[in-house]
């Protein structure tokens, strides 16, 4: 599947998205249902809670060829933990530290709150993140 307007000769940054089962994943699903356009390089894995993501997973994904990792978090609305946002930001920071240590650009990790109907914001996030990653790749950054 190729997105409208995509240049087939230009490599599309690969983005791994961590969504959450009940909140951000339906929003991402809705982006598809509404035929919103975002990069074909996006792949989504749904998890119960953002706090369960391990920084090592993020570093591993970058190590194995993803250009960036996007965490579609529940924000303050997590069904499991009232301090989920705080924990999630800690996870992102740790992941960025891991990336720095391995010489990778920490901008390759991004997090934003995505609600259950945030189809349009998600598509915009993907568009801008894809642009950032394309820039990083073009500049030769790791």
């Amino acid at each position: 599947m190729s997105s409208v307007g995509a240049n087939p000769s230009k490599p599309v940054p690969r983005i791994l998205v961590f969504s959450t089962h009940n909140i951000s994943d339906p929003g991402i699903d809705l982006a598809g249902s509404q035929h919103r356009h975002y990069s074909t390089g996006v792949q989504v894995i749904s998890v119960p809670c953002t706090s369960g993501i391990r920084p090592g997973w993020i570093a591993h994904a970058i190590e194995r060829g993803y250009d960036g990792v996007f965490i579609a978090s529940d924000g303050d609305e997590c069904a499991y933990l009232p301090d989920c946002s705080h924990r999630a930001s800690g996870i992102v920071q740790e992941a960025q530290e891991l990336l720095k240590k391995s010489g990778k650009d920490p901008q390759r990790v991004k997090m934003a709150a995505i609600c259950s109907v945030c189809a349009e914001p998600f598509a915009k996030h993907m568009e801008s993140f894809s642009g950032i990653l394309a820039g990083l790749n073009a500049s030769g950054a790791k």
């Binding site: 089962h21 009940n22 339906p26 249902s33 069904a79 499991y80 109907v117």
Partner: protein, 911 residues
């Protein structure tokens, strides 16, 4: 005690009560009727006055409810009854409805929805669009698990004696899945082409569409699927299973024998059919004339059986069952049908030229076609075989064919259409005559008749009465007798007979007096039909398989998985009206003097098949087409799943069953249900919601984006004519909310609101109303008397303009939105069969002291939360549900304290 609290209903009120009680540490059982928690709020666009996204703020609450460690949420469940014991505890009958989906395995991928062949109105989109019978309620459903909606077994499927999923293959054809339709029939029997031509289609008699213009042409649809399949070049294309090492002998290759062989061979059994006649197929091959069932059609069906590895030994009569055993067969199925003919037992029956219909038809099918040119033929009998014989005689050139039967035309056992077709082909019917005898010198010359005055006695037993004074004689050169068929019981002396006319077998297991021998079809039942024999062949295969695997034979669930049959009136009541469909008529090219045995019935065209199947009303909702089962990548769908009932003990009950929306068609002057561009506010909320069905606002009639939109307030509220004098409290504000959202989405649209009073009592509500006015919404005070529709779908609203002189004015709009009010939900009354749950004067659940003790009902320990007790907006519902939770907690603590005091008192006594 299993749970501290039962909460019935998971709208915003039920969720709030459950969460608050869970947070306090109480164990909560939450029972929700639908497949997801969330109630109505999750379906709304935004909430007033903050214009927060309803989905965004509902979903976290829904997720919290499902994942809360102290809450057990049962979705797609029902509370059947609640009984309070003397200790004040409640015993609750809870039923987990069959979801037909393993929740643990379902990943919510929605592939079952895509594969499903049934579309029904989507209640989660206020019926604006369709959903599938396999569905996830809405994109934000929690849990996001599929449900297969099965309301019952469709009448067509229920009545099929073969056990074919009739509704299933009809819905597959409707979806263009012709090969899948063929395979759905082939799941039951290899005789797809045969049944597509020669079945008497009892399904069509039961078709609910028949209550409208005409039943759908179910049999011909099956033939269409068969014709399409057999038009392929890669046939027979049958997967041969791995042999399981066991062998079964089947005696007889009629519908029961072939079906049993088909089913057993598909399970890996080595099957050999022994057929006494020179050709396989039994009565289908030898008795049904080719103009009804061409030999080639039957041969194609049989080729599938032999392609599975089934051997057919023709011209091989078997009578020694023990020899089969010694030849290595582990089980035997006797399916020899009814090959013998009944005799009239009258004078002259032994004359040459008096012949049984079975032998007459057999001779023709085996190629020995007698030349009847210049001859007169008398056919005796009023059944289908007699009709076949008479019409065959016509084709062989007979000068005249007389059909004589005891019954009057309307009583004849032959189908009405068959009698008509015979008459159209110049068969002369002599109804109401019995046979006195045959006369002739060595050869028959005439048949003598006597008037039959009654065929059945008062108990409807066959006991013909005659008037011997009323007689006539018909000259004939050939007399064909078709008055009944029988079983050759003498062929198997070791099997116990059932009287003189059939073999004896257990009606459930089909096992005979010899445990390893089973008997099926007409050999046991006497003359029936192809479909009935197919059904028995299936049963025999099922039982033989169980017998050979050493399993109990008494388990019948696997062979009859029908639910209760759907009530036709219930099906028809789903829609307010039906547009008559064009009937796919069958016009047979009948000749008054047919010359050959070419097949009469033409095949269906694809367009006819799609149009014919398109009339299906999906009576049972799920058609059992099986596509979801085949598609599900997680093997999560199990159509044999059963509902589960259990009794739980709880300490308190919260009734949070919500409200019902006013049924707008009860105000016929507004035209809802009649004019497509009159919609309800709930439908408008769906058009505005982020998960909206069309991704824009349009009017349902023609898909046009509306430019002039009218709101009619107080539809069903403050209206004694519909028995609801109460204000519904939130209609004004949701209308104001929608006005703002419409003007945001369609900046050029004009919005006019016809109102009695705007009730904006609440924090920032009046400001919210002012904001709508400042955005351009027009508010016109006065009641609307009538709405009428113009040819272009626009609507003319006639109303009283109070603020401009009270004149009657008419205005034209593209779309009219009815701001429907709240109606009480009386369902909670049925929850308490032993104690009456009190309702207030307006039929809401009564609160004993709503000023000071909100939430308490007349039953101690039962509380009400949210709109079950009266109209409330979301904020008030949450407040009320919180209050109810506090009342529950106080009640449980009082009970616990009383329990402690009782225990202490007992200990003192013991001490």
């Amino acid at each position: 005690m299993d749970y501290d609290v039962l909460v019935v209903g998971s709208g915003i009120g039920g969720m709030e009560s459950a969460l608050k009680l869970g947070d306090m540490g109480y164990k909560v059982l939450l029972v929700e009727r639908e497949g997801s928690v969330g109630g109505r709020m999750i379906l709304l666009s935004k909430v007033f006055p903050t214009l927060d996204c309803a989905s965004c703020i509902s979903t976290p609450k829904m997720a919290s409810t499902i994942h809360h460690p102290n809450i057990t949420a049962m979705t797609y469940g029902e509370v059947d009854g609640i009984r309070r014991d003397k200790n004040g505890r409640f015993h609750v009958q809870v039923r987990q409805k069959a979801r037909y989906v393993d929740e643990a395995a379902c990943t919510g991928c929605q592939q079952c929805e895509t594969a499903c062949t049934v579309a029904v109105p989507d209640q989660f989109n206020a019926d604006l669009v369709a959903r599938r019978a396999a569905y996830i309620p809405f994109p934000q459903a929690v849990p996001k698990k599929a449900v297969i909606e099965r309301q019952g077994t469709s009448p067509c499927t229920n009545t099929c004696p073969a056990g074919i999923k009739t509704h299933g293959y009809v819905s597959l054809i409707r979806s263009g899945k012709y090969e899948e339709a063929f395979q759905r029939v082939a799941d039951v029997t290899p005789l797809v082409a045969t049944l597509g031509r020669a079945c008497y289609a009892p399904c069509e008699d039961q078709c609910t569409r028949g209550e409208l213009e005409a039943p759908i042409p179910i049999r011909r649809l099956k033939r269409f699927a068969a014709d399409t399949h057999y038009g392929r070049k890669d046939l027979p294309n049958v997967d041969r299973p791995q042999a399981n090492g066991k062998r079964v002998a089947i005696i007889g290759s009629g519908p029961a024998g072939l079906t049993a062989a088909w089913q057993l061979a598909r399970q890996g059994y080595g099957v050999k059919i022994f057929e006494a006649e020179p050709q396989p197929g039994g009565a289908m091959r030898l008795s049904i004339p080719s103009y009804r069932l061409p030999v080639e059609a039957l041969e194609r069906d049989i080729a599938n059986v032999t392609a599975l590895g089934v051997e057919i030994a023709t011209s091989t009569r078997v009578t020694d069952l023990d020899k089969l055993r010694s030849d290595g067969f582990d089980a035997v199925c006797v399916a020899t049908g009814t090959p013998s003919s009944a005799k009239l037992r009258v004078d002259g029956e032994d004359l040459a030229g008096v012949q049984s219909a079975l032998s007459f038809l057999r001779d023709i099918k085996l190629g020995a076609k007698p030349n009847l040119a210049g001859k007169t033929v008398a056919v005796i009998g009023g059944g289908n075989v007699a009709i076949d014989a008479a019409r065959s005689a016509q084709r062989l050139g007979a000068t005249a064919v007389h059909q004589i039967c005891l019954e009057r035309r309307g009583e004849m056992p032959a189908h009405t259409w068959e009698v008509k077709e015979a008459l159209d082909e110049s068969v002369q019917l002599h109804d109401g005559w019995g046979i006195a005898g045959f006369t002739g010198n060595l050869e028959v010359e005439a048949v003598d008749l006597k008037r039959c005055t009654a065929v059945f006695d008062a108990e409807h037993k066959f006991r013909p009465q005659y008037d011997d004074s009323d007689r006539q004689s018909i000259r004939c050169d050939l007399a064909i007798v078709a008055i009944g068929m029988g079983v050759d019981t003498a062929a198997f002396p070791k099997l116990a007979p059932n009287g003189s006319r059939a073999l004896q077998a257990n009606p459930q297991t089909l096992q005979t007096s010899l445990p390893w021998v089973f008997a099926a079809g007409d050999a046991v039942d006497g003359p029936t039909s192809i479909a009935t024999a197919v059904g028995k062949g299936n049963r025999a295969a099922y039982m033989i398989d169980r017998y050979l695997r050493g399993l109990e034979l008494g388990a019948f669930e696997g062979i009859d998985d029908r639910l209760g049959v759907m009530d036709k009136s219930q099906v028809l009541a789903r829609q307010k009206s039906y547009t008559p469909r064009k009937v796919i008529k069958l016009s047979l090219p009948l000749s008054a003097h047919p010359q050959d045995f070419a097949e009469i019935e033409p095949p269906m065209t694809e367009a006819e098949a799609r149009a014919g199947s398109g009339g299906c009303l999906d009576c049972g909702v799920c058609s059992e087409c099986g596509q979801c089962v085949e598609t599900c990548p997680a093997d999560a769908i199990h159509l044999d799943m059963k509902e589960k009932k259990q009794e739980v003990e709880v300490g308190a009950v919260v009734v949070s069953t919500g409200y019902k929306l006013f049924a707008a068609d009860l105000k016929p002057q507004y035209g809802f249900g009649k004019y497509p561009n009159v919609i309800t506010a709930m439908q408008m909320d769906r058009l505005l919601a982020p998960t909206r069905p069309f991704n824009t606002i349009l009017r349902p009639g023609d898909g046009k984006v509306p430019e002039r939109i009218a709101y009619i307030m107080c539809t069903g509220s403050r209206d004694k004519t519909v028995d609801n004098p109460l204000c519904s409290k939130f209609c004004c504000m949701y209308s104001v909310k929608q006005n703002q959202l419409i003007m945001g989405a369609l900046p050029l649209a004009d919005v006019t609101v016809h109102y009695m009073d705007i009730r904006a009592a609440g924090k920032r509500y009046e400001e919210f109303y002012d904001q709508a006015k400042s955005m351009g919404a027009t508010y016109v005070k006065g009641r609307v008397a009538k709405i009428s529709e113009k040819d272009d779908g626009n609507l003319v609203v006639r109303y009283e303009d109070i603020e401009n002189g009270g004149n009657l004015v008419e205005a034209e709009y593209d779309l009219v939105v009815l701001a429907v009010g709240v109606q009480p939900n009386k369902d909670p009354v049925g929850l308490f069969p032993e104690e009456k749950l009190a309702l207030d004067d307006y039929s809401y659940v009564a609160e004993l002291d709503e000023d000071l003790n909100p939430g308490r009902t007349n039953i101690p320990g039962v509380f009400v939360a949210g709109t079950a007790s009266g109209a409330k907006d979301i904020v008030d519902s949450i407040l009320h549900a919180g209050a109810a939770a506090a009342q529950v907690a106080a009640h449980l603590e009082e009970q616990a304290q009383a329990q402690r005091e009782t225990t202490q008192a007992k200990m003192k006594v013991l001490a």
